[in-house]
Amino acid sequence: MSSFDIEFAAVTDIGKIREKNEDNVLISSDLGLGVVADGMGGHSAGEIASNIAVSVLAETVRKVNNQQLKIPDNFLPKLAPVERKLLMAANLANAAIYSTAQSSDIYRMMGTTLTGVLFDKDCATAVHVGDSRLYLFRDDKIIQITTDHSLATEHVRRGLLTRAEADRSKIQNVLTRAMGIKKNIEFDLLKFPVKAGDVLLLCSDGLYKGLSEKEMAQLLKKGHDMPIVKLCKQLVRISNENDGQDNISAVLIKILPAQKATFKQRLKRFFSRS
């Protein structure tokens, strides 16, 4: 597992105008996993898709951890075990959604975004598809780790739109990649080292539509000493107050120091018995 102490918090809110919450979040400190999925599609299919996404992902990771499930040897053998585990879980989740979508007419066209992060040793491995985001808050600066798979972002990447235009654009909702739409999809896999003091924020598009990165950074900075559940709720609440047009979900992950510490820190901890 991770070489840090990791705190997780998750909040999801229906927003102001939606009739149902199509987002799904999952956190598991046992697995060291945090996931956000934002479903789409008519009827209640969106929430079903996102539900399948998070549950299959977590279940697969758990099974692989418990050795109830073995990753096939020929499945991307060059990648690290964690990456293979996460990618296989994401692929299985996609297959599950796709087959469900094909099984019945009411599920047709359903899909979901998925952004999940799995911790192992001193690294976080993120799997990402769609327009949910993973932010890293470090040294009072917030960085977006994932790239949205939306047409607007593609345009920004090619310099066809500015970032500001893209944020206002109608085609922000047009996803170029999503789970459940095709049998095999391409996932973004990102691996990055984390350190104590980092805060990771996984969120659906509802959150960042109501909160600019600057505001997020301010809130995260202010809420440094706050319990992260409270902080997470605050983020969602403020975003909902500002926008609230969509479902809002946030998963907040705080990396706390565990054992790798300087002599001073070790001394400090030596005396800490709260």
């Binding site: 599609g41 008519g42 975004t113 109608k170 909702n173 170029t176 990649r177 400090k268 005396f271």
Partner: protein, 776 residues
């Protein structure tokens, strides 16, 4: 046919469904027979997955009604719109024949005349729709149906697309419009007007003329972005028999900027008509209209026609070159950033037009005045400031810590000193109640249950309780928060020092150097090690080194327990109970060590504490079990041989009950009846009686020292039964090493040595807590 298998053969709005023709994202299209008119129609049914979406339904219906108003030969006719049996439907005319794309695939190359005929029809239909304010949004060859008479009909009138757009924030993986024919503004998600349809029409025309898509790419995004960004392709390069004006018209229709296109379908239509007439004329005059040079002649003609768009077409070729140049520049010229954001913000392809529009250069001028500093500073300034602040904070933090150390550590020492002095005094006062034969526990507790209190004992007890409350309250002070347990131990030790060595002055440390390695001092080390080990057990988030230290301290405590309580009498190995206690204690000790070492067990701080206490107590009990069992055996034989009659009071009670006639249940409780003939007597008389009895039963067994002890145990037996005696025996046995300790402490100051150790440890702990308090 997964959608409505039941629909085939059924009736909707007086139409009998015959078979499914097509299926799309919005729903399915069926061929049907209109019963009343006996006519083949086409029924489009909204997908049931969208039937609950109010907005989708509303738009499905409004759009259909709008098209129904458009009675135009080049637009498919709508007969009926509505909802029946839960299905939203549109009844349209059924067109035999094929779509333009199918036709193209069949024939590979279509004659230009035919293509223009068809597109003129499409333009007329489009014009009619645009006049009603309806934008098709998805003009493509497969949406142009050709009936057997060769008449083109526009179908799929923006219904699905408009719904998609109106659904707004709902996510979708499909962009309104087909990638191969999508207008740049549509692909950029900007507001659309009717000119977007003209772009798509131009792209369709390109495709039909050349058999190739204007832009092709790896994937949809690639294609879409080429529509936005790539130079307009020239159809004449692929199809050489194309009149120059047509090639230019296609390129004009496909202009990135809507302002550069033909502005209406009508204008396009008229232009086509006019140019074709001119071509005809030229053919009649013997001049073939082919292979006109693009750069020279083409633009001139358009200039005549289109005053508004003169500049754009004249410079098509230049424009292409400029675009290419601009694109190259764009990728490399990040160093010229100050100019770029201004341009980017307004129009995506503004750089493409930069060379040929002088007025834009004027717009660019102010941008030069923008200082790059403004762009970069906001990101850097705060971080710079922050580092400074941090340093200041750090420095002031250090000063604060030193100040805290100076204030709180002496305060702690004074506090601890006061506490220990108070409890020492209390112990001294209480020392009059100490019974040399009684065990530690009864000696510690009994002073407060004595028949008669010593002078000032009550006052001091009250003060001591207040001091205990103060110790507990002090845990709310951050600096002292980690010393509560230690202060409690200090209070206990000070109380014991006063209780058992009342004649030694407080904090007399003169003799300690001589006794450091004596067995009595082991007990001091034991208490010290246990205090530390308990502190560690109490700690949350232990590190590995801390765990190892804790484990070592636990092990040391166990060894010290054995050493300090180990008597010359071998432990009672006969008793199964004692063995169980020993192994359980060992197990607890090992478990405690394990918990201190394992990093996973961070949350549970009480558990190792309990384990440590249990194992120490267990091993201690095991060590003294030999002594206890010896005493017990002797006492058993004694109690069997000494004859004590039942009490008179009990007998009198019996008689009384019989006299009054109460049904006595005394027999059932006889084992609890501790009354006997000794009950009413004073302790002194009972002891005399027992002394007599013991001397009679076991002459010469006890000496002067042991006799009072055994008489004390026997007194307990006759006053409280066997269990009370056994408790007294175990209490004695367990505290026997402490009694030795007490006896020697008079001379070797062991209590004050222990107190000094605890002070030092307390001060260290307090200082550590203050120094690292920021992190706690």
């Amino acid at each position: 046919m997964t959608e409505h298998p039941s629909l085939v053969g059924q009736e909707i709005s007086g139409c009998e469904i015959l078979n499914k023709v097509a299926e799309g994202g919005m729903g399915a299209v069926y061929k049907a027979r209109h019963k009343a008119l006996n006519r083949i129609v086409c029924v489009k049914i909204l997908s049931p997955s969208l039937a609950n979406d109010k907005k989708a339904v509303e738009l499905f219906l409004t759009e259909a009604r709008a098209i129904a108003e458009l009675d135009h030969p080049n637009i498919v006719n709508v007969y009926n719109v509505g909802k029946e049996r839960g299905y939203y439907f549109i009844v349209m005319s059924f067109i035999e024949g094929q779509t333009l794309s199918v036709m193209l695939k069949k024939h590979k190359i279509l004659p230009i005349g035919l293509i223009l005929d068809l597109f003129e029809g499409v333009l007329l239909g489009l014009q009619a729709a645009h006049e009603k304010g309806i934008i098709h949004r998805d003009i493509k060859p497969s949406n142009i149906l050709i009936n057997p008479q060769g008449q083109p009909k526009l179908v799929d009138f923006g219904i699905a697309k408009k719904v998609d757009k109106e659904k707004g924030s709902t996510k979708t993986t499909e962009l309104a419009g087909t990638a191969y024919f999508i207008a740049p503004e549509q692909a950029l998600g900007k507001d659309l007007d009717t000119r977007a349809d003209l772009y798509s029409l131009g792209a369709s025309l390109y495709y039909v003329l050349t058999g190739q898509f204007p832009y092709n790419g790896k994937n949809t995004i690639d294609i879409i972005q080429k529509h936005i960004n790539d130079p307009i392709p020239n159809p004449a390069k692929i199809r050489s028999d194309m009149p120059g004006w047509l090639s230019l018209a296609v390129q004009k229709l496909m202009s990135k900027n809507p302002d550069d296109r033909f502005q209406t379908a009508k204008e396009t239509y008229l232009y086509f008509k006019k140019m074709r007439a001119e071509d005809q004329l030229r053919v009649k005059m013997g001049n073939s209209g082919r292979a006109i040079d693009l750069g020279e002649e083409g633009p001139l003609r358009i200039v005549k026609e289109e005053k508004t768009t003169t500049a754009s077409d004249r410079e098509t070729v230049q424009k292409l070159r400029a675009q290419e140049a601009a694109l190259k520049k764009r990728t490399t010229s990040s160093s010229r950033l100050p100019l770029m954001p201004q341009l980017d913000a307004s129009v995506p392809d503004a750089t493409a037009r930069k060379p040929r529009k002088p007025e834009e250069k004027i717009q660019m001028l102010p941008a030069k005045g923008v200082k790059p500093v403004d762009v970069f500073m906001p990101a850097k300034r705060p971080s710079f400031r922050f580092t400074q602040n941090e340093k200041i904070q750090e420095m002031s933090g250090d000063i604060k810590q030193v100040l805290k150390l100076v204030v709180f550590v002496p305060l702690f020492l004074v506090f601890a000193w006061g506490i220990s002095y108070l409890f020492h005094t209390l112990g001294t006062i209480c020392s009059v109640h100490v019974n040399a034969n009684a065990g530690l526990i009864s000696n510690l507790v009994m002073p407060f249950f004595a028949a008669e209190y010593a002078p000032n004992q009550m006052t001091m007890t009250g003060l001591a309780v207040a001091a205990l409350a103060l110790i507990l309250a002090s845990s709310s002070i951050r600096a002292f928060s980690r010393s509560t347990l230690l202060l409690l131990i200090v209070a206990l030790v000070a109380y014991m020092s006063g209780l058992f060595t009342p004649n030694v002055p407080f904090m007399e440390l003169a003799n300690i150097t001589q006794f450091i390695f004596t067995p009595e001092y082991y007990l001091c080390y034991l208490v010290f090690a246990m205090a530390w080990a308990m502190g560690l057990c109490w700690t949350l988030n232990r590190t590995v080194s801390q765990g190892i230290l804790g484990a070592a301290l636990v092990a040391l405590s166990l060894v010290l327990v054995y050493l300090s309580s180990h008597l010359s009498i071998v432990p009672d190995a006969q008793s199964v109970f004692v063995k169980i206690v020993f192994y359980a204690a060992l197990f607890c000790g090992v478990l405690c060590v394990y918990y201190l070492l394992s990093r996973t067990e961070k949350e549970n701080m009480l558990f190792p504490l309990v384990l440590l206490l249990a194992s120490v107590v267990g091993i201690w009990m095991y060590s003294v079990s030999g002594l206890a069992s010896n005493i017990n055996r002797t006492l058993n034989t004694l109690t069997k041989s000494i004859v004590v009659k039942d009490s008179f009071s009990a007998q009198s009670n019996e008689k009384m009950e019989e006299l009054i006639g109460i049904d006595s249940r005394r027999a059932a409780f006889s084992s609890f009846d501790k009354t006997n003939e000794l009950t009413g007597l004073s302790d002194q008389k009972v002891l005399e009686f027992l002394d007599e009895q013991v001397s009679k039963e076991a002459p010469g067994v006890f000496d002067e020292k042991t006799k009072p002890l055994f008489l004390y145990f026997l007194l307990n037996y006759y006053r409280g039964g066997e269990s009370k005696m056994k408790f007294a025996v175990w209490d004695y046995a367990v505290s026997f090493p402490v009694q030795n300790f007490n006896r020697n402490a008079e001379a070797n100051d062991a209590y004050f040595f222990l107190l000094a150790l605890l002070y030092a440890f307390g001060a260290l702990s307090c200082a550590g807590t203050i120094f690292f308090s920021e992190d706690l």
